[in-house]
Amino acid sequence: MTGTDQSSFLGRISIRRNQVNAMEGYHEQEIEDLELFQKQLSDRFAELLSAPDDAPTEAFLSISWIRKLLDVFLCCETECKAILLMERDAAQISKPPLDRLIPELLERVVKAMDICNAATNGVELVRHCQKLAEITVSALEQKPFGEGQARRAKKALVSLMSAMHVDDKESSVQKTAERSWSFGRRSGNKDRHHGHYRSLSWQVAKHWSASKQIHAMTMNLAAPRGPEASCLPAPVYILSLIIVFVMWVLIAAIPCQERSGLTTHLPINKHVNWTHSLAGIHDKIGEEWKKKEKKGMAGLLYEMQKMEKLGQSLIEFTDSYQFPGEKEKLDEVAAQVAELAEVCRRMDEGLVPLQMLIREAFHRLVRNRTEFLDVLEQGAPVV
């Protein structure tokens, strides 16, 4: 998945197209390009699938794993577009069935842009959790440790837990947003931290639902059959599927507005070689999601799950803590605090770059759409 791989691949297509354009054997060359592309895809997703479930770094669904996934996405997008558009006669793109497939692809692209924005908001929520966890860590690391620090940690942990179990349903967003400011002494203050992430800016739009978007994106998404499977409809399908898949993973991992029913099965054709690993990742995340969905959660992001587990354990500790505490228990907690600190550190390192990468994916989708529209316009029969 390195940069040189990609540039050589693009170079290959470019040279080929220049040389053999409109000659005999062109179609065979295209099939070869497509096969090479699928082989690369297969390798990249296999690498992602092979990530360890639990590891200090690079774990499955960890921040760095998602960044890798987005890198793969950006590469695929470039290559797929190269196969589709590079040195190609615009008229080919506007012929059936592409005149239907490309507009459908572009609709998916638009939905994916909104999902990217939802995920950007979601990363903000994760960052908020990080800040609360950092307070917890600094309270629990205090020496000497006493009840005051336990209370301080607990306060942050309670906020953290309610942030994690944020209800992504719209109703709760509405309710909080419309709540009046006039809470009296203390009574309403407990709710303060909820407002922070149930706020309006968390919403993509009223009534918007991440899972519905995914569902809509999978409509008409079917692998091309017969002769179509080896020509232009194939890369359109691949690009569509990868967009839908990556967006689906983002939604599963990062908190988003309205995700109920996300387990929708993506129409991944398992009989094609390159989709093996993709299907593997899909199944794995689907299982996880089913296990966790009912409990309500912030997402499957590895760091968040870790944080949730540590948080729960630490909240129990702070609940029952009495000065000065047993040495054994304190040592155990110290280990957990160190682990939580490590999670915070990884978030601190990874979240901002992740957010930027999501934004880059967004901009890429915007440009991608413009390019396709330009080609469609060029190729449109003159009225």
Partner: protein, 644 residues
Amino acid sequence: MDGCQSGVPTYEGDLHVVAAAHHIVKALGATKNLSDDLRKILIDLDSHLSMITSNIDSKGGRGLVDVEERLDQAERKIMRWETDPMMIWDSGPKEASDYLEAVDETGKLVDGLRGLSVHENRKQKEILHRAMNILQMAMSRLEEELIHILVRHGQQFEPKHMYSRSIRKDIVYDESFVSVEDEPIKETSSRNYSNDESGECIVDLVHADVIPDIKSIAKVMFTSNYGPEFCEAFISVQKEALEQYFSFLGTENLSIEDVLKMEWTCLSSKMNKWTWSMKIIVRVYLASEKQLCDQVLGGLGSVSSYCFLEISKATILCLLNFGEAVAMGPHRPEKLLRLLDMYETLACLLRDIDTLFSEEAGSFIQLQFHELLERLGESAIAAFEAFRVAISSNGSLYPFAGGGVHPLNKYVMNYIRMFPEYCNTLNLLLKNQHPGVADQVTEPDYGLDASLLTSCPMAYHLRSITSCLESNLHKKSQLYKDEALQHIFLMNNIHYLVQKVKGSELRLFFGDEWIRKHNAMFQQHAMNYERATWSSVVSFLKDDNPGSSSMSKSTFKERCKGFSVAFEEVYKTQTSWSIPDPELREDLRISTSLKVVLAYRTFLGRNLAYTDDKCVKHTVEHVENSLLDLFEGSSRSLRNSRRW
């Protein structure tokens, strides 16, 4: 227990050293221009030293008793409020400062005791533990007080006091070219930028009176290492306040999909609102928020900019996303002016944004702004091209009745009349569209130098737009079967074009040469009309033998009849034609009159002998008066009317 650990003096000499150090610290503390960081260090050192002194004094406990007494006192003051239903800062400044003093005292005791905690002194540990408990309670309380103060003294401001909303005429571009009202648009009143240029309008988002209170809470919380809690609470309230203000402005979150599907009229008003909200949010709200952050958290390094970024990021991204959605939407000609508004707004806010988000963490926002600006520029250019294409490709199947000013012409001219207001922006954006033109442009400031204005990129593009328009009008004129009407149509439309150019700032861009040329053009069409219509009519009145005195009666009769029939025919047709401009109509009537009436009068005068005959159907006066009915746009007939 070993009492000889480093840092704890047990000898007289050490006592002196400590006393001397204490003295120096006190003296340093009295210095005025100390940075906050340094002052904090000195205060810490001071409390640490007094703790050591009291410890030495006690020689085994009296110092701790002292410390305990001080803690008891502070605790009483702090605990009293735990059961009080009132908020401290609502209860009065004395209460607040007492409380802060107690917290400060507790903090100092904690710091001091902690400095000594290396000793396994049980009593000391106990006091420290108690002090930390009290401190935690106080911090939690301060957080609540902070939220309460921010919410209670948060101030909303009315945007209308800040900016007069730009009232610009909404011109709706329509496929069917429904005519836009042809009333003069006051160009100067439509854009009121004076406020914008005059710079920031900073308001107090939180009442100025409570800023010192918030500051003192910040100070004590940061001193006690509860800074993160302060930030969380501060960010959460201010972020929500900004979001509320955002929805108060009537701006709502929209998905890109929604924006792309939006009807033009709705989108247009949203684009207007965006332009307006963006200015208020950035110039007023965020500038004020930044000031608040700096006032409250100024001395704490990057904390202020961190909080500011966290407060504003979500709202800014929301605004940017709408911009992105608009920029990626279909490039329809009607979007051009709104896009230019958005572009100009962003361009003039860039500097503010770069200042507000100057820190490294804010570079993300800066970058997004710059990207959007570029995107909007591209989109505006695309809309400009779409405008040109729409003009050339606007086709008609039927001739435009009456030959008056075509709605396309009205639409285009009223639309481009707005362009001079966007002159600098359009020049900037169009500069690269036609490299040949760009070379001639040297200065972005197109003051009054007319010759420079006519050669700027916008002028070039304006002329190219009107020439597209002209050729389309020519095409449309071909739909008339009657050659005379073709000329009336072109005369009307080119006259309209010239009038619109002359009557607005457009004249500076088109230049005198263009105006002269087009004046001549419509005059030529007027002459062509006269020739096409009247030559044959007047030919009846021609004297075939200028030498002989008069024609035969039968010839006269025949000529008279021929003239009447032809004249009535022209009257019938051309009363339904239209020349909307009264002056142009008048001019054409006069010149027609000169030609026709004069010829008729001469004809009748030369054949006076027959004029009492019935064959003279129309008197000279009658012909003269009848000509006044032409081009009024309502068909009439002379045959049956007997007005004379």
